[in-house]
């Protein structure tokens, strides 16, 4: 849906220049809720504003649905991208309906249709049209104003919505409420959202993907769970805060307990050769991989033995189910996956290359270790 390619923004010239955004790449799928987060000055807002060309990129490309936005008319582009800004920025001299309808009006959509949609949207966020339609922004509370701000971004039915710290200026209770509403709204309408915040709790609450930035670069882009369980480096750990990283079955990833470097064999290996390798490595299982080293299936010594003499190739004997988990899958979820007759799960990375194996035994052992660790911590 949205692709950023080598996107760079430089402010100033020559020696005094400042790299606000440094050569970043990002892929956003349709319907994905992406949260850009980082300390102030990390380039998150600059990145966001380059998407609708409020800030012109110095170099690099922004593709929406595969086509570059550089050549597009910026005004036209913005009318097709929803935008919610930090300080709400409602037009104070417009009524609520006129505020919501501004983009449909600019796009010269049918007045009757757009009014109907506006009233429907207002109802959806609990702003009773009979009461609020003809009021002015100054008559609304901050939370109500930002609801209108969100509706204004939704009114022309854009697929992509940019939100620049939209809830930053609200009190904590209103903020929680709007976060929940926003997440529900997004799931209901299946919008792609790029959301900037400096609040890690907000990011964890709302994101499908958290993009953590520092000094104009992406430090880690991953799901909240993966970031929590598998922070890329000490900067990420620090930014998230140790208290959110506590090891519990609910959030401890299988990566912490898996057997590393599983035996892998290519698809054209003969069953006999596989057996020999298993013997050599004292392994009960081998992971069969394709030419790109990606997971194809699991094979156990037992399976090979059962098929002895049937002259089958390795691929015919495979357990073909997709018995894979990602390294950030929690122990709890992995245990659930192991419940049905499956004995072993292969842990794979993003490109489906095997990085480890887990069985019920390894998971149990891992949990025991964690239990011990947290107990010994408690004693100290």
């Amino acid at each position: 849906m949205l692709e950023l390619k080598n996107l760079t923004k430089v402010y100033g010239q020559a020696e005094s220049c400042h790299l606000a955004v440094n050569n970043i790449d990002l892929d956003v799928d349709k319907g994905e809720f992406v949260v850009l987060i980082g300390p102030s000055g990390c380039g998150k807002t600059t990145t966001l504003k380059m998407v609708n060309h409020l800030i012109e990129p110095t170099s690099g490309e922004i593709l929406i649905n595969g086509s570059s936005t550089t050549e597009l008319n910026a005004v036209e582009l913005r009318r097709n991208i929803g935008y919610v800004i930090q300080n709400i920025g409602l037009f104070p001299h417009f009524t609520i309906v006129d505020n919501v309808e501004i983009v449909p009006k600019l796009k010269q959509m049918d007045p009757k249709k757009r009014r109907q949609r506006t009233l429907g949207l207002m109802e959806m966020v609990g702003l009773e049209p009979d009461v609020y339609a003809d009021r002015y922004p100054a008559e609304l509370s901050g939370g109500q104003q930002q609801r209108v701000g969100v509706l204004r971004a939704l009114a022309a039915e854009p697929d992509l919505i940019l939100m620049d710290e939209p809830f930053g200026a609200l009190d904590p209770i209103t903020r929680d409420q709007l976060q929940t509403e926003m997440k529900q709204l997004q799931q209901k309408l299946n919008k792609t959202i790029i959301f900037v915040t400096h609040d890690i709790d907000e990011a964890i609450e709302m994101a499908d993907t958290i993009v953590l930035m520092k000094d104009g670069q992406i430090v880690q882009a991953a799901s909240p769970r993966e970031i929590l369980t598998n922070p890329a480096n000490s900067y990420v750990r620090e930014f998230i805060g140790e208290e959110r990283l506590a090891p519990e079955p609910d959030i401890t990833p299988v990566a912490d307990v898996m057997v590393m470097q599983p035996l892998t064999v290519s698809m054209d290996t003969t069953p006999k050769a596989v057996l020999r390798q298993m013997q050599k490595h004292r392994a009960d299982f081998a992971v069969v991989v394709d030419d790109a080293k990606r997971f194809v299936g699991l094979i156990s010594a037992n399976q090979i033995m059962r098929n002895r003499g049937k002259n089958k190739t390795l691929t015919k004997m495979l357990q073909t189910e997709d018995n894979t988990v990602r390294s950030h899958t929690t122990i709890r979820d992995a245990t659930a996956a192991l419940a049905n007759e499956v004995q072993v799960l292969c842990v794979v990375d993003r490109k489906r290359r095997p990085v480890g194996l887990v069985s019920r035994t390894t998971l149990l052992q891992g949990l025991v270790n964690i239990w011990d660790e947290s107990n010994s911590n408690a004693v100290i």
């Binding site: 409020l54 935008y83 800004i85 920025g89 104070p92 001299h93 002015y136 100054a138 008559e139």
Partner: protein, 218 residues
């Protein structure tokens, strides 16, 4: 003296009305022209730092020249005496209040509102007439009001260079040491200033968008 003033007013009523009309011309034409020039200039000044610097400096300098001196300056500048130099001087004099208020009014529109307008996909021009001008309008009218009140007063000096208007009575009264004549020019001028101020402040309120008249909840 009060009696002799009223007597004089009765006697010279037609002259007073004529001078008042003359005075209104001395005010309306410069204010009208100054609005036509200063409002666009003020808008451009918010868009361009160089225009801002040049225009605001020139207007401020013009404003610091004493009004009588500015009127008198018209003579050596080749405009001679009479209506024309008076109109030019008063025009120059009314530029700054209108210019400054337009500039401040537009610049004063909340940055987040401007960012939203652009972010929603308004063109520069749409942003100006749909958002910035309506919000700045009361401030701009305020500038016109200030300019009008100043010019009504300053226009009485126009008589010094043969510009006519209510100043004629005052100048003659000063020359002849006749208080009633001075009052014949001064009182209508003062009343005119009050009336114009009242009307324009009414217009200012009328043109303030409804949404801006409500005290904010926050």
């Amino acid at each position: 003296m009060v009696m002799s003033f009223f007597q004089l007013l009765m006697e010279r009523w037609d002259e007073v009305i004529f001078a008042l009309q003359d005075h209104l011309v001395l005010v309306a034409i410069p204010i009208g022209l100054a609005s036509l020039v200063a409002i666009p200039l003020g808008i451009i000044a918010t868009r361009n730092r160089w225009v801002e610097l040049i225009v605001m400096t020139v207007a401020s300098v013009l404003q610091t020249i004493p009004s009588l001196a500015l009127l008198a300056l018209m003579i050596p500048l080749g405009l001679g005496i009479g209506k024309k130099p008076a109109l030019v001087a008063l025009f120059l004099y009314s530029l700054l209040p209108i210019l400054r208020n337009t500039f401040l009014g537009i610049r004063g529109v909340d940055d987040s509102v401007k960012e939203a307008a652009t972010g929603m996909g308004m063109t520069q021009f749409q942003r100006l007439y749909m958002v910035e001008l309506p919000i700045a309008l009361p401030v701009i009218i305020g500038g016109i009001r200030t300019a009008a009140v100043i010019v009504i007063g300053t226009a009485t000096l126009a008589a010094m260079i043969g510009g006519g208007g209510l100043g004629d009575f005052i100048i003659t009264g000063l020359g002849m040491v006749r208080d009633d004549l001075i009052l014949l020019g001064a009182i209508p001028a003062a009343l005119l200033a009050l009336a114009v101020d009242f009307i324009l402040s009414g217009l200012e309120k009328l043109l303030t968008p409804r949404g801006l008249r409500i005290p904010s909840k926050e």
